[in-house]
């Protein structure tokens, strides 16, 4: 064992974290733990074998009682793991005597029910203390994390219980639905078969959860010593001292050194502990079942298995006791408002009915408010977020025909009654630009107001042309296209149309955009 290497990081932890440290050690070293543990469990089961068939539940009890003996194997492996070593089954067998020599009897007898069992286990197994020394040491060590140690012990029970219930439920779940075997009802009858079954499951559950308990307690122990004694510091200091001088300084008290070496060196200290075979049950349960019991069980079995007795169904209904009369909240409501002109009921129960009606009324108002409020809230939300929700939102402002498109006034009232004539007139007067503009905007006005074409103010000539394609027949559309192109040349290039071209447009205009001419 090199003093410098540690299998875990010693830090001052909280108690619960220390438990997790123990579990972490267990996770990392689960293989050797499983090896040693398995060996012990097999040994124990072999020991129980003669009794297993007759009195299984006693075996389960015995197994449970002997757990402190089993724990020692786990603690042995974990104590090696603390120094980064992996203990094998052979190591365990070699150290067999050392592992079991200290405090086994006490652990199995008067310390068996200690609520801090796994927390104090290292004190006598690893430190080898007993008697007054043990008590003092245990008092010091458990002064702070005793609460956590107790919780850990309870967790051990709960985990075992959880595993047990889990297994039972799993098996129950795997029964085919039609088989009608109710595992849980086995607790009532406790046949031998069920006892075997229960023992097997119980031993399995104990076997699976006990190492957790030991590891958690060991974690608490390690952490407490780190807190109390500064293990980590001692190691660092030793490294420093070793670096400083070649002289090995072993000036520490034997105790703290001894505490470092799990398991304790097998020196000749003549501590005799009761060891050997765990106590075997002295009184195996009385022989086979007694006749009365047998008869009882047969009856049970018949009741259970014969379909004639077995038609039971579990029906779960949410039932409410019928009120008998209709509550007539409506009538009470009317009564309430119209000063009970017509007593609806015989007067004897009227008073009560009225109260009942009032109560119904309150409930109704509450309900209406609840539902109404919910509804209003939802509506408000929809309204509030209508934009984000991508709902069709009314255009803001509602679309109305723009007064001007591309800078041209297209309101109908701004147009002369006879557009082509007015345009010709302007053209002759030497205002071809105005003339063409008139033709174009009149055509647009026509499209907007007669054909219902929607053009926003940001539409360019090209947009209008595309939109017009959907609203005009091919003939007029072609004319509108020519008109647009001519207008664009004029507007953006100052390119005057020829007279013929203009005339052509004027002539085609009434037919295409007809309405007013």
């Amino acid at each position: 064992m090199k003093p410098g290497t540690m299998g875990f990081v010693p830090r001052a932890r909280t108690a619960m974290e220390a438990v997790d440290l123990g579990l972490g050690l267990l996770q990392a070293h689960w293989r050797p733990v499983a090896g040693v543990w398995g060996l012990q469990v097999l040994f124990l089961l072999g020991l129980f074998l003669p009794f297993l068939f007759r009195t299984p539940l006693w075996c389960l009890l015995g197994y449970w009682w002997l757990k402190p003996w089993l724990d020692r194997g786990v603690l042995f492996v974990l104590s090696r793991a603390v120094f980064g070593q992996s203990a094998s089954v052979w190591d365990f067998l070699r150290e067999w005597r050392a592992v079991h020599r200290r405090g086994l009897a006490a652990g199995l007898l008067w310390r068996r029910l200690s609520p801090l069992r796994s927390y104090v286990l290292p004190i006598f197994q690893l430190e080898g203390l007993h008697g007054a020394g043990y008590r003092q040491r245990a008092r010091v060590l458990t002064r702070q994390s005793a609460g956590a140690g107790f919780l850990l012990t309870c967790s051990g029970w709960l985990f075992t219980l959880m595993t047990l219930v889990g297994f039972l439920a799993l098996l129950q779940g795997m029964m085919p639905p039609g088989s009608r075997v109710e595992l849980w009802s086995g607790f009532d009858t406790m046949t031998l078969g069920f006892q075997w079954f229960l023992t097997a499951v119980g031993i399995l559950a104990l076997t699976l959860t006990e190492p957790l308990f030991v590891a958690g307690g060991f974690g608490l122990y390690l952490n407490r010593r780190t807190h109390l004694e500064g293990w980590d510091l001692e190691l660092a200091f030793r490294r420093l001292a070793a670096r400083l001088s070649l002289v090995v300084l072993l000036l520490l008290g034997a105790r703290s050194l001894g505490a470092q070496e799990p398991p304790p060196a097998p020196d000749g200290e003549p501590v005799v502990q009761a060891e050997g075979a765990p106590p075997t049950p002295k009184h195996p349960a009385e022989g086979p079942l007694r006749p009365q019991e047998e008869a009882h069980q047969r009856a049970q079995r018949i009741l259970k298995e014969d379909p004639a007795f077995r038609h039971t169904e579990e029906i779960r209904v949410l039932s409410y006791e019928p009120t008998g009369r209709e509550p007539h909240w409506l009538r009470s409501f009317l009564d309430f408002f119209f000063a009970k002109k017509e007593p609806a009921k015989p007067s004897g129960s009227r008073n009560l009915d009225f109260l009942k009606g009032l109560w119904d009324l309150i409930a109704l108002v509450g309900k209406v408010m609840l539902v109404g409020g919910l509804l209003a809230f939802v509506l408000w939300l929809i309204y509030r977020f209508r934009h984000r929700l991508g709902l069709p939102v009314a255009r803001e402002p509602d679309w109305e025909a723009p007064a001007a498109v591309a800078g041209l006034d297209i309101r109908p009232e701004s147009l002369p009654p006879d557009v082509p004539a007015a345009a010709r007139h302007l053209f002759v007067r030497g205002e071809p630009r105005a003339a063409l503009a008139l033709l174009y905007r009149a055509a647009l006005a026509e499209l907007v107001h007669r054909k219902g074409m929607e053009i926003p103010a940001s539409a360019t000539e090209g947009d209008c042309l595309r939109a017009a394609g959907d609203h005009l027949d091919p003939g007029p559309a072609a004319i509108f296209k020519t008109l647009t192109l001519t207008w664009q040349r004029l507007a953006y290039k100052d390119d005057l149309p020829t007279r013929e071209a203009f005339e052509g447009l004027c002539e085609a205009w009434p037919a295409a955009f007809g309405g007013r001419s």
């Binding site: 029906i315 909240w329 409930a363 509450g366 309900k367 929700l389 991508g390």
Partner: protein
Amino acid sequence: MRQQLFEQQHRQAWEDLQGWLEERPTLNPEDVPPAYRQLCHHLAVARERHYSPALVERLQQLALRLHQRIYGERGEGLLGALRFLWQDLPRQVRGEWRLVAVSGLLFFGTWIGAFLLVRADPNLVHLMLSPEEAARYVQMYDPKTPVAGAMGATRDVMMFGWYILNNVGIDFQIFASGLLAGIGPLFFLPFNGLHGGAVMAHLTNQGLTATFYGFISGHSSFELIGGVLSGAGGLRMGLSLMHPGRRSRVAALREGARKGARLLFGAVVLTFVAACFEGFWSGNALVPWKAKVAVGLAFWTLLALWLLLAGRRGR
């Protein structure tokens, strides 16, 4: 630099950050990120120089708390939830239409199958319902039995609570059991489908159409589609587990669960709405049953339109 000097120089900065964490701000919010980066730097320096463990631990914990605070997930709030319902959920349903279709088929397929079978041969109902159950359903929808709504408003609230507890819980269970390789939905959906179809056909056979259809039509759309969606969510999760694609199984599962949970969320909202209707509307005896059926059909249409069309327009 000696530790003492280091502490002296930066103590103020650390205390400021601590104060910001404890809601007594001495820092402007915009100064926090730089101060946090500075702290990270200090932590790295303190570790590198092996300052005393207590100091390193103190800085480490401060940094951890700030990390959590700064990188906390910002919820999208109410608006996000609404947008999810209006856009993302229908989109996702359409995106995962295969799963939704499988889930729907498992549910409605068996439903319709059971319905047709029992309609064809009324005796087949006993394959799926025990006589007591069948009788109980008949009794429940017997016109002479008062329906829930006729029992006053307090009963409505009670039924509402029960429906939420029961139905949403079923949705949750269908979803979560999807993790078992999708077996949960594969079992629950057909089971519920068969049961529902058998009940429906049986009651129709008994001539209880008015009460039965009147009662279920109002909320059926929400509840059944909710069930289908939670089934699809569970299937999504199970599928990610079985076919992780090119990702690790856990990563795929994580992604699948996130997607599935979104479907589930939609399912829960639908089921909640269903419970509202079931509690307050379906049992209402004042409304003629034909009107209820008409309303129910309208809801079916609206829901279908919602799932098919909502959120189609881009952002």
